[in-house]
Symmetry: none
Subunit: 207 residues, 4 copies
């Protein structure tokens, strides 16, 4: 480790550091911009805000779409981690479920691109969706085991609910922030084991 110092490793480490810093800056800026303007913004706006040139941006992300995907994945993952930690730290299973949703949705407030992506792909990416399923399933299982969750409620239901409420969060972000909590409460009440009537079969289109 003390050898091989004279070649180029120091500048190389410097370059690497720069590269990492740039990549982070791009993701940061892109996160903001996509959130504010949706997925159809001009890439230049992202380059401008991240303080890098177009070339640098395209070195890290060969396509606008790839950038969008990455950013969404990153953000979504972070939110997921937050929400999961919140849930793990909560003893009461129902409180854990509530907290999970609240944490997740609170973070998504005013992020247009996320809802867009929900609409088009069912979520940021397959990996993300899987992880989300997995984490939701943990919380759900705790609730099931505690007998507080309405029978028949699936992980898919809860996942879908989170996407659905994201829309509400976004819609009200500007005019009535926080109003979505009422919807969350309503939905959770509908999810409690107090409701015993079976849900419509998934895959059935009829009434």
């Amino acid at each position: 480790m003390t050898l091989a110092d004279h070649a180029a490793p120091a500048p190389r480490r410097g370059r690497w550091a720069d590269a990492e810093r740039n990549r982070a800056a791009i993701i940061e800026a892109a996160g903001q911009v996509f959130a504010e303007c949706g997925g159809s913004v001009d890439v230049r706006e992202i380059a401008r805000r991240s303080g890098v040139g177009m070339g640098t941006l395209y070195r890290h992300f060969p396509t606008k779409d790839e950038l969008l995907t990455t950013v969404l994945e990153q953000q979504f993952n972070a939110w997921l981690t937050d929400a999961h930690q919140q849930a793990v730290a909560t003893e009461d299973p129902w409180q854990a479920l509530t907290g999970f949703f609240e944490q997740l949705l609170d973070n998504q407030a005013d992020n247009r691109a996320v809802v867009e992506s929900y609409a088009t792909t069912g979520g940021p990416s397959e990996y993300c969706v899987q992880r989300c399923y997995s984490l939701i399933d943990q919380v759900r299982t705790r609730c099931v085991d505690a007998g507080v969750l309405r029978p028949g409620v699936t992980t898919e239901d809860l996942f879908l609910l989170s996407g659905s409420l994201s829309q509400a969060v976004l819609t009200t972000a500007d005019s009535h922030p926080g109003r979505w909590r009422r919807l969350l409460r309503i939905s959770l009440d509908g999810l409690s084991s107090r409701n015993t009537e079976p849900l419509p079969e998934p895959g059935t289109a009829g009434s």
Copy 2:
């Protein structure tokens, strides 16, 4: 359900009949295209599908945005009318509420542009939103009078719920059509008067 309902009140003299037919064709085609591809499609695709030239299209709608707005308004209005009729025709208030949502959401299935517009403008247009509020309020009042609606539930809550569920409808349109009905059922159960605990104050951000 047919779109372009109030199109041709009186196919008058000259080529006016064509004009009305074209306008209807444009709205029809634009509805499809916007639904399939979102609001960022090429206007030419719409012109092509409606079988008119660019000039005709722009004669009727001086701007792409105006076209989008009009189409959304038309569609939303039609859906609203459908849903309202459904509600009016149903005797049981709770069934009316359920039917209203089902009808509304059923129509919105696989229309990307609507959700986009929800996210950006809070709905197709001010007029539409007002009408929607008004119709929802009628159904809500019936439920309140019958004592079947959870106390404190506002028209805004129900409107927000419809937008929120639209997202779910759209998300699952391709892979799991109809699954959103489970969410609807859950939400409605949370809205029933069986739930008596107060909802979070609107305008309050805390838990």
Copy 3:
């Protein structure tokens, strides 16, 4: 004359009258519009102002350019007639020359299209140019005969002068109307027989 009343001559005369009235209305409106907006206005504006449909307009003038030409010719001819009458009515040859120019230019004030046409074609039309030449020549001849015109001044010179001053008239129409009269005076003074030095040969580019 009292016979042949029942056939179709009356409506036919009516159609003819309509046609003539329309043609006149179009020319009238086109005159205004071209004057105000230049030769690149939308033809619809002309149709709108003349109160006829596009079809009628194109029945009378198969081409926008033909309409422009006709209008310009008509106007220019009227101005020319005015100016000529003014000249004829004036006894003193030099006064006639002065008056001719003043009358001609006064009429051209704020008519953009005319100057444009000067720039592109050297005048409204060949016929008009010829007539203009002819009328100018009459005035010129009177001045020559009276010995008040600088020797060597040609009809072409005077024609060119009128076009040149048109530009000045137009330029100053809004901000300094009438200022062009100073230029006219200067030019006319340079045209008086007091100046005896020969003018540069036409067709020679050198100094």
Copy 4:
């Protein structure tokens, strides 16, 4: 005379040199094209002739109009500089005045857009007009001091004359190049101090 004079002050690092070269090329090409075809040419033609893509063109000039303005300003400035140098280099004040006009007009030959711009805006731009006034005033003052200029002639008169003669230059550019010199001679003779009669008051419309 070369256009695009103050283009490349310091061909700096990177592709900036290209940028400057392109900017110059665009202005050069646009100058030609506007001159030949007037202000209504297709921008693509300019892009083609300057050898750059549309994007490059619009990077430098966000609007066609901005390009037109810039080009006109550049050209007019260059012509003005030429004419001024010509005047400064001439000892005899009257010769200086004569030379100034000749130089200015000679350059404007066959540039349609310039005359168009005269007609619509009273000149290329406010700055240009001011500079033109200033330079003309210098020449005028010399003539006044030498007592060779007709009393009462203002800078505005001379400016207006230059615009007026531009029209003549353009009109005759194709068919009778150089014939405008006769008009210039006539006007200048009318401007000489040999003519002592007062000019019509500016702002007065009467005879």
